[in-house]
């Protein structure tokens, strides 16, 4: 049948027709192949660079590498803030065959709690399977050893070491050293505003308080980069390039941590603060506020329970009392007032007045009482400071007037930030006419001036302002700014900062410094001085001034009886001092809340700190409750 059909067909015509059609299809094929090739040419030649970039963008990821934070030392090279490897138990879910069985075994081995496992599962769900997830952080050495011995039983589980901040001195330095903690939204916003967010791309913690916060830019360092090749899952295949981070700078503080420890011992059981400043350059040797807390709690994220306890404690441990506590300076500013009176010519070294125990203004009904009910009798300016006569200063202040007082006290640093390298500082209140008008919309009354004369009334100061002012007094007008940072290591060598100084105070009569300082010498070294008892028998010669600040104002006929007063209404005990008298090395301030008299409570503490400083003596507890003030 087929053969028959073949016979009747015109094979040549069919073959020709087929050949023509084949030719057309071949032309079509050639056209389509040209189309393919021109498109591939466009992709591979014309836009090659573009696609090459995108291909690299796919596979190359730039990972930031966090710099190591600078260490912090005290002036003697003792480490105050370090980066410690902290061990955590991490699991790579992908590499674990039976996760539940592994977790169960780990629980029996290391006592992992159900809560920890729940947290682990929670974190694991938001992660790629090949990324390690921490089961327990901060493993103890024992736990590390225990796990290491059993590691062969747990493929995919490993102990990882990371550097985390640690403060070996714990509570001793918290308020001045501060701490680092996890970068929060607010920090991030600030970093973004400062254009620093890239530099912090790999950093977990940031300085939150104290030196850690103030010198953050020095301590942090510069981020490094690791260029890695990743696959479509984001898994790192290999490292292509590494630009190491620049570690933060190692800082040295003026702090002497042993002195700081002594101070802490002295303040145990009190709410208060002690500051020791190097009189020669303003360096802060010790700055302690009690009660304190452990900064290490914050580094790993403080539990809300612990944080609430700190926040709600009536002793307010979170406050840095040395720089944020605002107290009436009380009698501690009598030397400053005397300097002003002498300089203004309101009094002379020879001016004497009789103190009968109280002071009155014309046309004012109330009377201002001296702390000594029966008065101090005849006093000149020196004796007025030595015995802490109130009446003398009531009168002098009244005659000087508030404007001159606030001008001079402002020059001595009151009512303003001291300039210490801490953000946690208050400027307190130096009253003036303008301030009172603005604050209370009230006129300034002469009686206000009288109160200011003995450092009471509207006047408040921080202990650090007081310390700074004393440093100015002992340096006869040279105004050092208290500084915590002493210097930094540059290429292994300590570079010490220049002392920070404000333009000095020029007195019309420089002799006035000597009169005031001599009176402070008298406070400690003359029989009738209010600090005499506390400093009996020292090997060094110190000078100072006591202060007892009323927390509540009392009616003129009311008796102050500490025993009867509610604890938080009792007087604050204050002391300022320096030593050695002839060539001052240190300035000290003690401020104790509701502790009672400055002479009886604050001065002995100052003495024991000085004993340690000059004699290296282990301070013994000297009870000295019957001192004059």
């Amino acid at each position: 049948m087929a053969r028959k059909r073949v016979i009747i067909r015109d094979h040549t015509a069919e073959a020709n027709l087929f050949a023509r059609r084949t030719f057309f299809t071949l032309v079509g094929i050639a056209l389509l192949i040209s189309l393919l090739i021109s498109n591939l040419y466009y992709l591979q030649v014309t836009r090659h660079t573009d696609y090459q970039t995108r291909s690299n963008g796919n596979r190359i990821k730039v990972l930031p590498v966090a710099p190591n934070r600078g260490l912090i030392y005290d002036r003697n090279g003792i480490l105050l803030a370090e980066n410690r490897p902290s061990f955590s138990l991490e699991i790579i879910p992908e590499q674990v065959e039976d996760l539940d069985a592994t977790l169960a075994e780990l629980s029996t081995l290391l006592g992992i709690s159900a809560d920890e496992i729940e947290d682990f599962h929670h974190e694991r769900k938001g992660q790629r399977r090949f990324k390690p997830v921490a089961l327990r952080t901060r493993l103890s050495e024992q736990e590390v050893a225990l796990f290491s011995a059993n590691q062969h039983r747990f493929p995919g589980v490993a102990v990882e070491a990371r550097l985390t901040r640690h403060y070996p001195q714990g509570e001793v330095l918290t308020h001045m050293l501060g701490y680092v903690a996890k970068i929060n939204k607010k920090d991030l916003q600030k970093l973004t505003e400062a254009g620093e967010e890239e530099n912090y791309a790999a950093t977990h913690n940031i300085g939150k308080q104290g030196v850690e916060k103030f010198h953050e830019s020095l301590l942090h360092g510069k981020v490094g980069y690791q260029e890695v090749e990743v696959n479509n899952q984001g898994r790192i295949i290999r490292t292509l390039d590494f630009k190491p981070p620049v570690p933060g700078e190692d800082l040295v503080l003026n702090i002497d941590v042993r002195l700081q420890q002594v101070v802490r011992q002295q303040l145990e059981g009190y709410r208060g603060s002690v500051i020791v400043i190097d009189a020669r350059d303003g360096g802060v040797l010790a700055l302690y506020s009690n009660p304190s807390y452990d900064p290490n709690l914050f580094v790993h994220g403080i539990s809300s329970k612990d944080y609430r306890a700190l926040l709600q404690s009536p002793d307010r441990p979170l406050i840095n009392r040395a720089t944020q506590g605002q107290y009436p300076p009380a009698s501690t500013v009598k030397p400053h007032m005397a300097l002003l009176g002498l300089e203004q010519g309101v009094i002379t070294p020879q001016t004497r007045m009789f103190d009968s125990g109280s002071y009155a203004l014309k046309n004012v009904e109330r009377k201002w009482r001296d702390w000594k009910k029966w008065g101090h009798g005849w006093v000149d300016v020196t004796r007025a400071i030595e015995v802490s006569c109130d009446t003398f200063f009531y009168d002098m202040a009244f005659r000087t007037g508030i404007d001159k007082i606030s001008d001079m006290m402002s020059e001595l640093g009151f009512g303003d930030y001291t300039g210490i390298d801490l953000y946690e500082e208050s400027d307190a209140t130096l009253p003036s006419r303008g301030w009172k008008k603005a604050r209370y919309n009230q006129a300034w009354y002469p009686g206000d001036t009288v109160n200011v004369g003995i450092g009471q009334g509207l006047w408040t100061t921080t202990p650090l302002q007081l310390a700074k002012s004393v440093t100015t007094l002992v340096n006869r007008g040279r105004r050092f700014v208290p500084q915590l940072m002493r210097g930094r290591y540059v290429n292994g060598e300590l570079v010490i900062n220049e002392p920070k100084e404000l333009p000095p105070i020029q007195l019309r009569n420089p002799e006035n410094w000597e009169i005031v300082l001599d009176a402070m010498y008298g406070v400690v070294n003359r029989e009738h001085g209010t600090g005499h008892k506390a400093f009996k028998g020292t090997h060094y010669v110190s000078a100072g001034k006591t202060g007892t600040a009323q927390v509540v104002s009392m009616a003129e006929d009311e008796e102050y009886d500490a025993a009867k007063m509610a604890e938080h209404l009792r007087d604050n005990a204050m002391y300022i001092g320096f030593a050695p008298y002839d060539n001052p090395e240190i300035v000290i301030t003690v401020a104790m809340e509701n502790a009672g008299g400055g002479g009886s409570q604050a001065a002995p503490i100052a003495r024991r700190v000085m004993d340690y400083y000059f004699d290296g003596a282990k301070p013994e507890l000297v009870l000295n409750n019957d001192a004059a003030q």
Binding site: A2, R5, V6, I8, R9, D10, H11, A13, E14, A15, L17, F18, A19, R21, T22, T25, L26, I29, L32, I33, L35, L36, I37, N39, L40, Y41, L43, Q44, V45, R47, H48, D50, Y51, Q52, R54, S55, N56, N58, R59, E229, V230, N231, N232, Q233, I237
Partner: protein
């Protein structure tokens, strides 16, 4: 047979084995290239290579077997194969297994297979048989019937849905009709009709995912992480390969697994990334050699049936190549068409080599008859 014994020097060993050496050489080089690229694309997995080699061996066996069959036998069985195929396609739609969201498989109890694959050969066989019953060129009613014979399996497969296969089957039939000498006037009319059919196809016949593919094809960057991801990554792979390529096993897009379907449908992107434009040109040359050889066989074939069948098989092979390269390089929408003889995978490989087996049968048969 007798004549060949008398002229032993005219009948080579190849002819006795019913093998076309040029075609075989081209196919083997192509398969070898495929194995090299699969090794790179499959993450240097020797198991993968082994499985592919076994498949290739099986497919080559099918090719050799079919090469021994006289073309007249194909002609005789065309109609039976065709209707059996249609029945199986209907069966697939009624009782077929669902794999990867499409109903393509028929489970015969002892084996599972895709009737649509068989149709890739039976449709051109059927059309070649039907049209070559009368002398060429075909008349209008022949063409209408021919298109109906073509349309039924195409729609049945498109319904599964398997756009790639239905496209290949449709083109295989169209090639038969074109090669048979359909008049240019009719071609123009048909082209106009098809352009009228496109909106109907879009609105009533295409599945949502197919429409999505087309939309993604038109603008892949609109959905870079979703459905556009494949084509974007593929273009990046090709473009970053440049003129000379990144080198074997050095293609980052494929080695780091940014490319989807690396060793199957998108293997051309791996090839382009690692061997560049130069490699592509060489590969296209290889394909051209095979296609030219196929067309030469078709032209030399004595009978209209053999001519049409050989031409259709060869041109459909080109459609494979063009559609695959076109879709991987962003010229065409992504339809599931592998790069023939290079992509990893079994079913289409067997069908393809079965087609080449028929070509070889036609090629070697022709010589014997042409001596008459």
């Amino acid at each position: 047979m007798l004549r060949s014994k008398l002229e032993p020097n005219r009948r080579s060993l190849w002819q006795r084995l019913h093998i076309d050496p040029w075609l075989l050489l081209g196919l083997l080089i192509l398969m070898g290239t495929g194995l090299v690229v699969i090794y790179s694309a499959g993450g240097q997995d020797m198991d993968l290579i082994l499985r592919q080699v076994i498949r290739l061996g099986l497919a080559l066996g099918v090719m050799f077997a079919l090469a021994q069959v006289p073309p007249s036998f194909f002609m005789r069985v065309s109609i039976y194969f065709y209707f059996a195929g249609i029945l199986m396609l209907v069966a697939v739609l009624l009782v077929g297994d669902i794999g990867k969201g499409a109903q393509r498989w028929l489970d015969l109890g002892f084996m599972r297979f895709q009737p649509s694959e068989i149709m890739k050969l039976t449709v051109p066989m059927m059309l070649a048989w039907y049209i070559s019953r009368h002398h060429l060129p075909p008349r209008i009613w022949q063409i209408i019937v021919g298109f109906l014979l073509l349309l039924i399996p195409t729609l049945l497969i498109a319904k599964q849905p398997d756009l790639g296969t239905s496209l290949l089957i449709a083109s295989s039939g169209i090639f038969v009709i074109f090669l048979a000498g359909i008049s240019w006037r009719l071609i123009t009319t048909a082209a106009l009709l098809i352009s009228g059919f496109v909106p109907i196809l879009w609105m009533f016949l295409m599945q949502e995912y197919q429409k999505q593919r087309v939309l993604t094809f038109l603008n892949p960057e609109s959905d870079p992480l979703g459905s556009g991801y494949h084509i974007i990554q593929s273009k990046i792979a090709i473009g970053s390969g440049g003129v000379s390529g990144k080198g074997w096993l050095q293609g980052t897009q494929s080695q780091l697994e940014f490319l989807p379907e690396r060793h199957t449908d998108f293997i051309f992107a791996v090839f382009s990334e690692e061997f560049g434009l130069i490699g592509i040109c060489l590969l296209l040359c290889l394909y051209c050699v095979i296609i030219l050889r196929g067309m030469i066989i078709a032209m030399r074939a004595q009978e209209a049936y053999s001519k049409l069948l050989a031409g259709s098989i060869t041109l459909t092979f080109f459609v494979y190549v063009f559609v695959n390269m076109g879709m991987v390089s962003g010229l065409l929408p992504v339809v599931g068409v592998p790069l023939p003889l290079v992509s990893y995978g079994g079913t289409s490989m067997v069908t393809l080599l079965a087609g080449f087996g028929m070509l070889m049968a036609i090629s070697t048969q022709k010589r014997m008859m042409s001596r008459e």
